[in-house]
């Protein structure tokens, strides 16, 4: 009798993953969206123990490529999908659908002791392209400007490059750092530095500069008056349905958006 129960229990254990099959969501893509996907997936899985969500990074291009090839359920991207990517996806019989899950502001930051409080987009562009190389040219102290940028493959660089530089080349002498944290900590220890990082990464050790007289904040980013802001996306094949819809609805719910704000991003509502 004991033996029968044991066998039944073993069978149930083996059969369980079969029943659980189909209750799985795979996500990959942008490293900027990664913390959002991870934090919301954890809570969502706590609430629905039968659902298993696997979250990976890889970068915006990887996420969009995953959706185009149909290998993931959700592709994260910190940029918009390009026309040529949509065309390629349609050829595969896939219809990429953009779900905006959060807002993100990119703050322009300088050293704590730098008296500069405001810069125009044009001034920032001139600094990054090398036309302005000393703080005295924008009303600051006579001190050479140390230009800090992000690695050219990062989504943050891509957005900064298109919104501020308009695709122009940053000077070759700019420091190219590997992460938002590295940018902030380097500016904190470099008096002449200027750099940019996602709003969620800014600490009290650096100063945020107003851009065109607008301070980045929840309000100015939501009403789009702050110019260096972007939306973060989760791409799906067609409008989300079934399990994926449940998950994305959860992210867009008040509770999901509260998690996003905890991660340092701005709610879409």
């Amino acid at each position: 009798m004991k033996k029968t129960i044991l066998v039944l229990a073993l069978l149930a254990l083996i059969a369980f993953p079969i029943f659980a099959k189909g209750q799985k969501i795979t996500i990959s893509g942008s490293t900027t969206v990664l913390p959002i996907a991870q934090a919301t997936a954890e809570i969502f899985m706590d609430k629905n123990p039968e659902i298993n969500i696997s979250v990976r990074g890889g970068g915006s291009s990887v996420g969009i490529a995953g959706i185009m090839a149909g290998t993931v359920d959700i592709g994260d991207a910190s940029r918009h999908i390009q026309t040529k990517e949509i065309v390629a996806a349609r050829e595969n019989g896939i219809n990429p659908y953009e779900n905006v899950v959060a807002n993100d502001g990119i703050a322009i930051v300088v050293h704590k002791n730098n008296p500069i409080k405001n810069l125009t987009i044009q001034q920032i562009k001139d600094i990054y392209t090398g036309k302005i190389s000393n703080w005295k040219e924008v009303g600051g102290p006579a001190m050479p400007i140390v230009v800090i940028s992000r690695d050219v493959s990062s989504g943050t660089f891509e957005v900064f490059n298109s919104l501020v530089l308009g695709g122009a080349q940053a000077i070759d002498g700019a420091l190219m750092l590997a992460s938002n944290n590295a940018v902030v900590s380097t500016i904190a220890s470099t008096p002449g530095a200027i750099g940019y990082a996602g709003l969620g990464y800014i600490t009290e050790n650096v100063n945020i500069v107003k851009v065109n007289n607008v301070m980045p904040s929840k309000r100015t980013i939501q009403d789009k008056t702050y110019p260096v802001a972007r939306t973060l996306h989760m791409y799906t094949n067609g409008a989300p349905k079934g399990l994926v819809k449940e998950y994305i609805d959860f992210i867009l719910s008040d509770e999901g958006q509260a998690i996003i704000e905890e991660q340092g991003f701005i709610s879409v509502k």
Binding site: T31, G57, G58, G59, S60, S61, V62, A65, M143, P144, I145, V146, D151, V152, S153, S154, G155, F157, E158, G167, Q169, D172, G173, A174, L175, M176, L177, A178, A182, S185, T186, S189, T190, P191, G192, A193
Partner: protein
């Protein structure tokens, strides 16, 4: 039964060595098959000879000269720092220090080799770079100099422990003969012991070179990452390893940028391959001598 064990053991070790060789060839094959296609987009001369590295611009530029120079500058800088320190400590440990001091100093220097490179990088970012800003009054502390200093400290234990091995294998009779002929200790070390151990010392320097040029984490964190040919040591550089590691993560598979990064890896492979060949050559010569 014993014979069976013998064959078993033989075949297991054989498979293990075979696997290592297979892995090596697999790596070389994938490096080349992903790296060569970049030459369809940019010709060989421009790839190695142009300093414009703007891989995500439109149109992109894939010239890696500035990255090669960046690697060489920090590596040579590291050797300038580590050769006197490493060789000096090797001579002290092997020739001058007493047995007690030797037993204390040697493990401490070797401990340096056990510190993970990311810890060296953190040290460079948090302490060395602000320190250099204060001391030299330079705009940024993330530059070729700070990367050279950190890499130099990392290479010291390699040069020190290998040179010390080489020095201690010099026969005692040579030293005694030199001293008996009236040479003092300094002359004995410089004119007799060091020349006798020169192939081991040279080998340690070449290995140190290979260690410094291949190091990735430290240069990502402290070299500053600017793809330019520096006009002084106080300017930031972007060594090859830093470019590969920090750009590969967000590059679309199979894109020109992807192939360009593999192309850099091929160049790096050739540089380390040649240094390894030289080391092998130097050591073989030494073995034949003794």
């Amino acid at each position: 039964m014993n014979k069976f064990k013998e064959t078993m053991f033989k075949s297991i070790t054989y498979v293990a060595s075979l696997f290592t060789i297979l892995a090596l060839f697999g790596i070389i094959f994938s490096l080349f098959s992903e790296g060569i296609p970049i030459l369809k987009i940019i010709n060989f001369k421009d790839f190695l000879g142009s300093t414009a590295w703007h891989p995500t611009s439109n149109p992109p530029d894939f010239g890696i000269l500035a990255l090669i120079i960046g690697s060489l500058v920090v590596t040579v800088g590291a050797l300038v720092i580590s050769i006197p320190l490493g060789l000096g400590s090797a001579i002290y440990i092997s020739e001058i220090a007493g047995q007690r001091t030797k037993e204390i100093i040697k493990p401490i220097i070797e401990l340096l080799a056990g510190i993970p490179s990311v810890v060296y990088g953190l040290f460079g970012m948090a302490f060395l770079s602000p320190f250099l800003i204060k001391v030299f009054g330079i705009p940024t502390g993330l530059n070729a100099l700070s990367a050279s200093i950190i890499l130099g400290i990392m290479v010291v234990p390699i040069i020190s422990s290998m040179s010390e091995d080489a020095l201690s294998t010099v026969p005692k009779s040579l030293r005694e003969a030199s001293l008996a002929l009236g040479a003092n200790r300094w002359e004995t070390i410089m004119r007799v012991v060091l020349p006798a151990a020169r192939s081991g010392v040279l080998g340690s320097i070449i290995l140190g070179f290979g260690r410094a040029i291949g190091e990735t984490m430290v240069v990502i964190m402290v070299a500053g990452g600017a793809a330019q040919i520096p006009s002084s040591l106080f300017e930031p550089v972007r060594p090859m390893t830093a470019a590969i590691a920090s750009e590969m993560g967000e590059t679309a598979f199979g894109s020109p940028h992807f192939h360009a990064l593999f192309g850099i890896a091929v160049v790096l492979f050739f540089i380390t391959f040649i240094t390894n060949l030289i080391t092998e050559f130097v050591f073989r010569k030494k073995r034949n001598q003794t």
